[in-house]
Each structure stands twice: as structure tokens, then as C-alpha cells.
Amino acid sequence: MIPLSWYLVVAFVMIGLGAYGMVTKRNLIRIVIGAEIMGNGVNIALVAFSLYNPVFSFTGQGLIILVISVTAAHTALALVLMLMYQTRYSTVDLGEPITVEARKSD
């Protein structure tokens, strides 16, 4: 049987990758993808715990079902917010409106 720590290592590396994407990227869509990767890492850790600790058995899986549904809802909301951001600032890059304003005032 695969040790639990292997799953946790993969989960932590995925969380780190997602955090890297969220910190360094400016494109809103890439930021959402980074958040999804982080969420996937957390899901793997939860399911692994639920298998290796039988007290958790269904708690982990049930939680995952709830978490996945909420993730779908919040991605839809993020899409709407991106649309709004684009109509307002005509870009999907964070930080650009500020630079455009600064360029205009120069």
C-alpha cells in the first residue's frame, strides 16, 4: 500500500504550484487556474486522509463532494467578475489600469 506521506507530498507540491501561479501571474484567467490547482491539491489530501484514517472514512468523501460543488459555483462567479472587470477596464490583466492611468497623467 502506498504510504500516506506520498499523497501528502503531491498535495503540498500542487498547493505550492497553485500559489506560485496566483502570486506571479497577472492574467485573471491564469490566477483562477492557479486557485483551481490549489483546490485540487487540498482535495487529494482530504481523500487520502479519509482512506488512511477510517474514522474519517465517509467524512472525507462527503466533504469532497460538497467542496467540488462549491468550487464550480465560485468559478462561475469568478468568470462573471472577470467579465465585469473587462467591461470596466477593457483588460483582464491585473495592474494594467493603474499603469494606463499613470501614462495618461504623464
Binding site: V10, T24, L51, F58, A73, T75
Partner: protein, 219 residues
């Protein structure tokens, strides 16, 4: 005995292959130049993560992962890319200086290494109860757990999703109303100097409104 050893080895090889593919696809999803390709890579990554759930004896979660992430969320993000034309020809990699990128990389690599080392050295097994009941990961038990005593959570999630949908529609409608009557045309907001140049009748009307409001305020 030999068969069991072979099975365990096969499982480990499976795990390593899935982990390598998942991490590679996740990296590509973040770093690929074309945003459409990175969405596709994300979808494939979500499908590969389902392999972990199969290894963890949770086939229902695997199916749900593929249905929701690969089928739903990837499609949603692709719609997002289609609806946001500026997303494709982005970006502003100019602003993303190499120094900032390096700092982000070093920070996340440190976090990753530290947590991975913690995961490897922490004695997880000691925190688990010694007398394990038999693992019951069947679908009927999951359904009983979810709908029996925890039905209220399912209803809460349903309520949350309804709120998200209604909120999205409300935000978009708000946007439309704003477009029909832009903020700068309202008296008191935006630039009033432009309006004076447009014509006197409109400004007079606005002034009348102002006076009416003032009178109403004094009364």
C-alpha cells in the same frame, strides 16, 4: 507472496507516473504561453487527478472529479477565454519582471520543500487510532452518510450555489443598467464641466432638479 509484492510495486509505479503527469500538466497550465492551451492542460490535469482517487478507492469521487472539473470548470474557463478577447492576446508580461518571477518561484519552492519534508517525516500513523474498523468505502455507505444525518450540508451547498447563480446574474444586470445610464451623466457625479458645453437646456433642467431637491431638504 510474490504476486502481492508485484501488485504493491505496480501500485507504486502507477502512483509515481500519475504524480509526474499531474505536476507536469499543472506547471504547463500555469506557464504555457497560449491561454487556450493552458486551459486544456488544466482540464487534462483534472482528469489525471481522478487517477489518484481511483488509487485511493474512491471511484465516485473520481467520476465526479472528471464530470465537474474536466467537463464543467474547464468548459467554463474556455467560455471565459472566448468572452474575454483581451485574455488571449495578453499580456502584460512586461510588468512581470524576472526579479518578481524569481522571488515568487523561490518563495513557493521553499514552501513546497518545507511542507513536503514535513509530510515525509511527520509520523502520521501515530495520530490514527490503533484499532481500525474495516474500511467501508462503498457507495451505499457514502450515500447514507451524505443524505442521512448530513443532509443539511447538502441543502446548504444547494443554497450556496443558488446564491452564486443569482449573484452572478445580479452583477451582470447591474453592469447593464450602468451601461444604459453611465455614471457621468448623473448630476453630482462625474464631470459637470463637460455638460455645460453641451447645451444650456440640459444643465438648467439639472439645476432645477437640484433646487427641487434642496427645497425638499429644507422643508
Amino acid at each position: 507472496m510474490l504476486m502481492q509484492g508485484f501488485e504493491a510495486l505496480f501500485e507504486q509505479v502507477e502512483f509515481i507516473v500519475i504524480a509526474a503527469v499531474v505536476l507536469l500538466l499543472a506547471y504547463l497550465a500555469l506557464e504555457h504561453r497560449e491561454i487556450v492551451y493552458s486551459v486544456f492542460f488544466f482540464g487534462f490535469m483534472a482528469a489525471t487527478v481522478a487517477g489518484f482517487y481511483l488509487l485511493l478507492e474512491a471511484p465516485f469521487i473520481a467520476g465526479m472529479q472528471i464530470a465537474v472539473y474536466t467537463g464543467g470548470i474547464s468548459a467554463l474557463i474556455i467560455f471565459g477565454v472566448l468572452l474575454l478577447p483581451r485574455a488571449q492576446g495578453s499580456s502584460l508580461e512586461v510588468l512581470q519582471t524576472p526579479r518578481m518571477r524569481r522571488i515568487g518561484m523561490v518563495l513557493s519552492a521553499t514552501v513546497m520543500t518545507l511542507s513536503a519534508v514535513l509530510a515525509l517525516i511527520f509520523p502520521w500513523y501515530e495520530s490514527f487510532p490503533a484499532d481500525r474498523p474495516a474500511i467501508a468505502q462503498d457507495l451505499a455507505g457514502l450515500a447514507a452518510w451524505l443524505w442521512g444525518e448530513h443532509g443539511i450540508y447538502v441543502q446548504l451547498v444547494a443554497l450556496m450555489m443558488l446564491t452564486a447563480v443569482i449573484g452572478s446574474v445580479a452583477i451582470l444586470k447591474m453592469e447593464k443598467t450602468e451601461k444604459l445610464r453611465p455614471l457621468k451623466d448623473r448630476p453630482g457625479l462625474g464631470s459637470r464641466d463637460e455638460k455645460k458645453n453641451e447645451g444650456t437646456s440640459e444643465t438648467e433642467a439639472h439645476d432645477d432638479e437640484h433646487q427641487d431637491a434642496k427645497e425638499a431638504g429644507t422643508q
